[in-house]
């Protein structure tokens, strides 16, 4: 009986897998280049507008982006030097190679690429999988460093290049790539190579200038690592800029307070965390960090109320959101008793 049920389940499972494969194939038939279709349909018009691109320009090219030809397998450092120089930070390719090139992998890993950008005080902002956004970034003067897979899904050939232009009339993407100063690829071929690399892309930004394509999440994710890498000043500027763009952002407000706390400005941090608790009173982190900012100022009795709030919202006994209350209880054993 049991074995029958199990066989039935297995058959059902196999059928599901078959259906899944079929569905994916059907999906693939629909269009393998949806981003190109989207771009061709709308042209360079802004996101969300319904007009055809006929009125606008059909070619964007940042002709003054420099070119650093790559040496063997070292497309990463070369592409990085290209975007860094255009962002006003001339970089030595050899130096970048030491920073990002991993000989054993004959290439550079994305986290290393982002870290190298941070060394120059710039935010490496993740680029969405969107070709109209690609065009709009070029129009605003941001070349886009992209990853491509020039091989196959199963046999990948990873490659970094810099998109510097799009020519809708000819249907081409223009890149600084490898040893080619001005490589042109058809939109569709480019899209497929980009898609095989999970549409990985990034643009470089000064911490005080939030670009149009940044979302609250991508911007803050690009800013947060500066807290740990010894440049909290950059993070503070980036969080402040985020709050100008998204005044209601709880996470930007928390980030600002965290940086100030980290720099020993506990009174500033207190103000920041207080505001965070007004933005999201249901999140324990605001209350928790506020309590610690007060503890650091030796204002133990003021810290008690927010510490209690945080502890009350803590998920379980071991939660970190109980630590402020525990610290206070260690000081005044009566603090914990109602």
């Amino acid at each position: 009986m049991i074995s029958v049920a199990r066989t039935a389940a297995r058959t059902a499972c196999a059928r599901t897998v078959c259906l899944l494969v079929l569905a994916l194939l059907l999906g693939a038939c629909a269009s393998r280049t949806p981003l190109t279709d989207d771009l061709s349909r709308h042209g360079f018009s802004e996101h969300g507008s319904a007009e055809n691109g006929s009125a606008g320009p059909s070619v964007i090219e940042l002709t003054d982006v420099p070119f650093h030809p790559q040496r063997r397998y070292q497309c990463g450092p070369a592409a990085l030097a290209t975007v860094l120089e255009y962002a006003g930070h001339p970089a030595d390719v050899a130096q970048l190679r030491d920073r990002v090139y991993v000989p054993a992998r004959r290439g550079s890993l994305q986290p290393e690429m982002r870290a190298a950008v941070r060394d120059y005080g710039l935010l490496p902002l993740a680029h969405p999988a969107d070709m109209r956004m690609l065009a709009s970034n070029l129009a605003q003067g941001y070349p886009v460093l992209v990853m491509q897979n020039l091989g196959f899904e199963r046999l990948p050939i990873w490659h970094y290049a810099v998109v510097v232009g799009i020519d809708l009339e000819a249907g081409n993407v223009i890149l600084r790539s490898g040893t080619q100063q001005r490589e042109t690829l058809s939109l569709k071929r480019f899209e497929r190579s980009w898609a095989r690399a999970a549409h990985w892309g990034m643009t470089l930004h000064a911490p005080d200038a939030v670009p149009a394509h940044a979302t609250e999440q991508t911007w803050l994710q690009a800013a947060a690592p500066f807290e740990q890498t010894g440049s909290p000043g950059v993070a503070e500027v980036a969080y402040s800029a985020a709050l100008e763009r998204w005044p209601q952002s709880f996470h930007a407000q928390m980030g600002l307070g965290n940086v100030q706390y980290q720099r020993g400005r506990f009174d500033d941090a207190e103000v920041a965390f207080r505001r965070a608790t007004t933005l999201d009173a249901a999140h324990p982190a605001g209350w928790h960090n506020l309590a610690w900012a007060l503890i650091r100022q030796q204002r133990f009795s003021d810290a008690e109320a927010p510490a209690r709030q945080a502890a009350a919202m803590a998920a379980d006994e071991s939660s970190r959101y109980r630590s402020a209350l525990e610290a206070l209880q260690a000081q005044h054993p009566s603090a914990g008793n109602e």
């Binding site: 389940a9 059902a12 499972c13 599901t16 897998v17 259906l19 899944l20 569905a23 994916l24 999906g27 693939a28 629909a30 269009s31 949806p34 999440q217 803050l220 994710q221 800013a223 947060a224 690592p225 807290e227 740990q228 993070a235 996470h251 928390m254 980030g255 965290n258 706390y261 980290q262 720099r263 020993g264 982190a285 928790h288 960090n289 610690w292 900012a293 503890i295 650091r296 133990f300 970190r320 959101y321 630590s323 402020a324 525990e326 610290a327 206070l328 260690a330 000081q331 005044h332």
Partner: protein, 116 residues
């Protein structure tokens, strides 16, 4: 007696000092970092995305047709670990933009069968 209180106070001051030092030796001492908060947010958004998907009428109807109750599916989504959520999120991102209920559903059912 007053001396005893003083000693008590001093001991407590020392204790809290140690606690601050012990819980986190870095400049971060005590507070919850921004990177942790952002990670937490990303995970909960992924869970929300899945839960919203399950609430769609067409998805619920299709689930029923395959003998999976919507309540069961929702329960499983709630109990997915971070890694499983991420794996599922990656699957969903691979699907064509306007994927219909059937496609989404097949991924869902596959996921549920694997995790069963």
């Amino acid at each position: 007696m007053p001396q005893g209180i003083l000693r008590h106070r001093l001991l407590n001051a020392l204790l809290i000092f140690m606690l601050i030092g012990v819980t986190a030796p870095a400049a971060h001492a005590g507070i919850v970092g921004t990177d942790y908060l952002l990670h937490e947010q990303a995970v909960s958004e992924e869970r929300q995305r899945l839960a919203t998907l399950l609430e769609r009428d067409d998805v619920q109807a299709a689930l029923m047709a395959h003998g999976v109750s919507a309540g069961d599916a929702a329960e499983r989504v709630a109990s997915l670990s971070e890694q499983e959520l991420q794996a599922f999120g990656a699957q969903m991102d691979e699907l064509p933009a306007g994927a219909g209920a059937v496609t989404i559903l097949l991924v869902l059912i596959l996921l549920i069968l694997i995790l069963r």
